[in-house]
């Protein structure tokens, strides 16, 4: 028998989708029966009370959670988010229900032993409820009490070789795609750079001194599987600058139907015979391809690396050999001024250890500028909008490049400074008047 009546939550379970309510009920039941004999360190009925407070919130139409807190682990300003219930007498199991963010391994590779270990830890010292994964990529532990925070942190760091992630006005846990480990499209080793920068910027990750959150995300290719272009303040997208490698025999095999387009991903229904003109050539955004006389040609100078042709014919077309990444800055979700996509600031850079140029010429000058000029709670993208692209280039010392501009004379409008113009702005007025009457 459930501790609290939850008719409104029960109704949520009737939909066609997997239900978080069902998940929480299952965990509540598991904790109540405790067949594994777990030595619970927070109230055994925490999940029951969680359902209870959620039901009450639906009933009242407002939340019963309070916002934020001073809780954390010693020396860290991030990784723990204080959550308190404002009805502690009614729901003592969730009076404290703090969230902990656990830094995910690069590429989110786990062993089952590791997953079992963190789940066992969280079942014993927390609610047992996790969110795999949060938007930043962290493993999210949902709900524990204040005394358990240091205990969980000790066990994570000492027994599982695992750190907390970022929260608050910190560098957030850097996140990357699965990269070269499993994907032939990866133009650089996303896991290597993600791990390297995570280690390099530990201070920024754990001790908040930024105006607001800051996110790095690493995509191995323009398919953007971690959506870095939309979700990170600094987005690294893999690119090549030479030519797409073409295997003409494989192209013919796609045209002849021996190879399935998109690696068979659209095999669920009959789409008819593969039509290279319609499905590849005609969809190229820059129209830089042609297929004539059984030969595929690409004008690589016009290619914008949209990945469509490679995605459709992966056996026939491969990324180039001269690989690196582009860096974009300023993407964010909509709080002020709506959502923003990243703006290109580095068209191409080699991404090879020890990443000195990326750190010293891009990341750190941007941080210096944003830390000094950024208003409280202002994201990098908002500062770029407020002070302008020109200012960003000035502060980073990056050279302006036509590829940074979406359309001529719309974004950004660059004003020359006197010292940038040969002869400055001074003129001989008499010479001028010879040709221009007053």
């Amino acid at each position: 028998m459930a501790k609290h009546e939850t008719p409104l939550l029960d109704q949520l379970e009737t939909g066609p989708w997997p239900s978080f309510v069902t998940d929480i009920k299952r965990e509540a039941e598991s904790r109540a029966t405790n067949e594994k004999g777990v030595d619970y360190q927070i109230p055994q009925d925490a999940c029951e009370d969680l359902l209870g407070v959620l039901e009450l919130s639906f009933k009242h139409g407002r939340t019963h959670w309070k916002h934020g807190g001073i809780v954390g682990v010693f020396g860290y300003g991030g990784g723990v988010i204080g959550r308190y219930c404002d009805q502690p007498e009614m729901f003592p199991g969730v009076a404290h229900f703090h969230t902990m963010r656990v830094s995910q391994p690069a590429g989110k590779f786990y062993t089952t032993k590791y997953l079992e270990s963190i789940c066992d830890l969280w079942e014993r010292r927390g609610s047992g409820i996790t969110n795999m994964h949060g938007s930043t990529g962290d493993i999210i532990f949902l709900g524990t009490t204040t005394p358990q925070l240091e205990e969980v942190f000790y066990e994570l760091t000492h027994n599982l070789n695992q750190d907390l992630g970022g929260s608050g006005s910190n560098l957030r846990t850097p996140s990357d795609c699965i990269g070269a480990a499993r994907c032939e499209y990866a133009c650089y080793d996303t896991q290597a750079i993600c791990h390297d920068l995570t280690v390099e910027y530990q201070d920024e990750l754990h001790r908040p001194a930024f105006p607001y959150k800051f996110k790095f995300k690493f995509d191995g290719c323009p398919n953007c599987c971690v959506a870095s272009i939309a979700r990170s303040d600094l987005s690294f997208i893999g690119l090549w600058r030479d030519e797409i490698r073409i295997d003409e025999e494989a192209v013919k095999a796609y045209v002849g139907g021996e190879l399935k387009p998109n690696a068979g991903a659209h095999a669920g229904r009959d789409w008819g015979a593969f039509d290279i003109q319609k499905e590849v050539i005609g969809l190229c955004p820059t129209q830089c391809m042609r297929y004539e006389g059984d030969k595929l040609e690409i004008n690589n100078k016009e290619c914008t690396h949209c990945m469509h042709c490679i995605n459709v014919m992966p056996r026939a077309l491969r990324i180039g050999n001269d690989r690196g990444c582009a860096i974009l800055a300023g993407a964010k979700a909509p709080i002020l001024d709506g959502a923003q996509m990243g703006t290109l600031i580095v068209p191409f850079i080699k991404a090879e250890p020890p990443y000195t140029d990326i750190k010293e010429k891009v990341i750190e000058p941007i941080w210096d500028w944003w830390m000094e000029e950024g208003k409280n709670r202002e994201r990098l993208g908002e500062l770029m909008k407020r002070q302008g692209m020109q200012k960003l280039l000035e502060m980073t010392g990056l050279d302006p490049d036509p590829r940074m501009i979406q359309e001529p004379r719309t974004n950004p409008y660059i004003f020359w400074k006197e010292d940038e113009v040969e002869g400055g702005f001074k003129r001989d007025i008499n010479e001028f008047r010879k040709y221009h009457k007053r």
Binding site: G69, I70, A95, P208, N376
Partner: protein, 79 residues
């Protein structure tokens, strides 16, 4: 600026403002110290380790305050 001088400055300025607010952004503290953020960070972190300041986080934003000040500590059953 020496650490002890910085600590005193922060304590005095934050105490003065206590009537109106108890939580401060990092940039407010850097301004009090008259230092660039990166330099101020080292001193401010040391103050957190020494218990002169404590972190407060909403989850998305972090702030700093003196331990025991503001409503938080009593309201959240932590004192």
């Amino acid at each position: 600026m020496e650490y002890d001088e910085a600590k005193e400055k922060i304590k005095v300025e934050l105490t003065k403002k206590l009537k109106t607010k108890s939580k401060f952004y990092f940039n407010d503290l850097a301004k009090i110290l008259g230092m660039k953020p990166r330099e101020a960070k080292k001193l401010i972190n040391q103050m957190v380790l020494d218990g002169v300041l404590e972190y407060w986080s909403s989850g998305s934003t972090s702030m700093y305050g003196m331990p025991g000040t503001g409503k938080q500590s009593s309201a959240e059953h932590e004192d």
